[in-house]
């Protein structure tokens, strides 16, 4: 068991965003999270990552979880090389960052401020593969990616499920049916 949510609810101010939800994720599993805007997908991912605490209920996690926000967040003033090296160091890991950057067709020495949103998305995927978390939490990973990027994403997700668990929030039904073993639908509140 990688991740287990037991009867969690989350409230912001007076609004209940998530009510009494239970969920479990196994290693080797990919779950698609679908639902309209405002149905609490991002909140749920952040709860799973441990970035938010549920108002009620419990979250149990095994191993390391990483959360990929949409749009991805990077320091503007660093280059891709610097950013990846710091990330690797902070997480206490090693990895072939040069090979990964090449595979995704990204330049090493350009400040990230000059990256397009599609390039940033690719870099975020590079970062995730290098850091290799046990739980992948992705918020709309398909947005801003071109056809080639999308193919790379699907490839990465297939690799990831071999050793980890994946939860991805998406509006892309085709992507969900292509990579996910099951789908979790969040309704309106």
């Amino acid at each position: 068991m990688l991740l287990r949510l037991q009867g969690i609810s989350k409230r912001f101010g007076r609004e209940w965003v998530i009510r009494n939800l239970s969920f479990a994720l196994e290693r080797g599993e990919t779950v698609a999270l679908v639902g309209p805007n405002g149905s609490g997908k991002t909140t749920l991912l952040r709860l799973m990552a441990g970035l938010l605490k549920p108002t009620r209920g419990r979250v149990e996690r095994e191993g390391r979880a990483l959360f990929l926000p949409n749009p991805p967040a990077f320091h503007r003033h660093l280059t891709a090389r610097e950013h990846l090296l710091y990330d690797l160091a902070f997480h206490g890991r090693e990895g072939d960052w040069q090979g990964a950057l090449r595979r995704f067709g990204l330049p090493e020495e350009v400040p990230l401020a000059a990256f397009s949103s599609g390039m940033k998305k690719r870099l975020a995927l590079v970062r995730l593969t290098l850091l290799a978390p046990d739980v992948w939490l992705l918020d709309e990973p398909e947005t801003a990616l071109d056809g080639e990027g999308r193919a790379l994403l699907i490839g990465i997700l297939r690799e990831a499920r071999r050793s980890a668990g994946v939860v991805l929030a998406t509006h892309d039904r085709a992507l969900a049916s292509e990579v996910a073993d099951r789908t979790l639908v969040l309704g309106g509140v």
């Binding site: 710091y86 160091a89 206490g92």
Partner: protein
């Protein structure tokens, strides 16, 4: 600027984030932030401008006689340093909040204390040269004698550390809050009044040429506050930052 080598990341032995691994991460985080701040320039320049404007205006207001200027100098210097370091500590987390990268730091394995120490170290890197600069400016504008530079610098170190230890903690706590620039000094000043007070008295003693044994007592007081605030802040930081 050359960073310490990050290429050879070593897998931390045993549990992540312990021992040497943590020290290295702290060092790297401080260094990275320094790099970001230097490349961004805006924050650094505003702090610098703030220092100089404040010292100039105070010197104009209190001058031109030498004696009152000299007596006022330690107070002015420390108030300028306190405000300046409040600006900087907001910057330390604004770097993460503006780019949305605070979550990435929080998701690193192991305890969260290293983030606190990294941000603290980053501010000390910037504040120590800045405070030395402020001291030199005060020497020029306020006739502050610099013949005891080493004890003066020790006072700066102890005072700035005490102030920054609490400032970093609160800046982290309030990082995502609207109006943090207003709230932070409000909260900080009541807590760090003892530190600023002791630092002003130590500086005053040094300027007035009191024997070192007399100043030493203020140093002791500063040291105690530094240790207590640093320890308490480091322990509380992960607790308030989670969730």
């Amino acid at each position: 600027m050359r960073a310490p080598r990050v290429g050879k990341a070593v897998q931390a032995p045993g549990r992540d984030g312990e021992g040497m691994g943590a020290v290295r991460r702290i060092w790297l985080l401080a260094w990275r932030d320094l790099r970001l701040e230097v490349r961004d320039r805006a924050g650094l320049l505003s702090v610098l401008a703030f220092f100089s404007v404040m010292l100039f205006i105070m010197a104009l207001a209190l001058g031109p006689e030498e004696e009152p200027l000299r007596r006022a100098a330690p107070g002015v210097l420390w108030v300028a340093l306190a405000f300046g370091s409040t600006l900087l500590s907001t910057r330390a987390f604004a770097l993460e909040v503006e780019d949305g990268t605070l979550d990435d730091l929080l998701l690193t394995p192991g305890g969260k204390e290293w983030i606190y120490f990294g941000k603290l170290l980053f501010q000390m890197f910037l504040l120590l040269p800045l405070s030395l600069l402020a001291l030199l400016m005060a020497a020029g504008l306020f006739y502050l004698p610099l013949d005891r530079l080493l004890p003066l610098f020790l006072t700066l170190l102890l005072g700035v550390l005490g102030y920054t230890s609490v400032a970093t903690f609160y800046a982290g706590l309030l990082a995502r809050l609207r109006g943090r620039e207003v709230l932070l000094p409000l909260l900080l000043f009541s807590l760090v009044v003892p530190v600023v007070l002791a630092a002003v008295r130590a500086t005053l003693g040094l300027v007035e040429g009191l024997p070192l044994e007399e100043v030493q007592n203020w140093w002791q007081l500063l040291l105690v506050f530094d240790v207590v605030y640093l320890t308490a802040s480091a322990l509380l930081f992960p607790v308030v930052l989670e969730g």
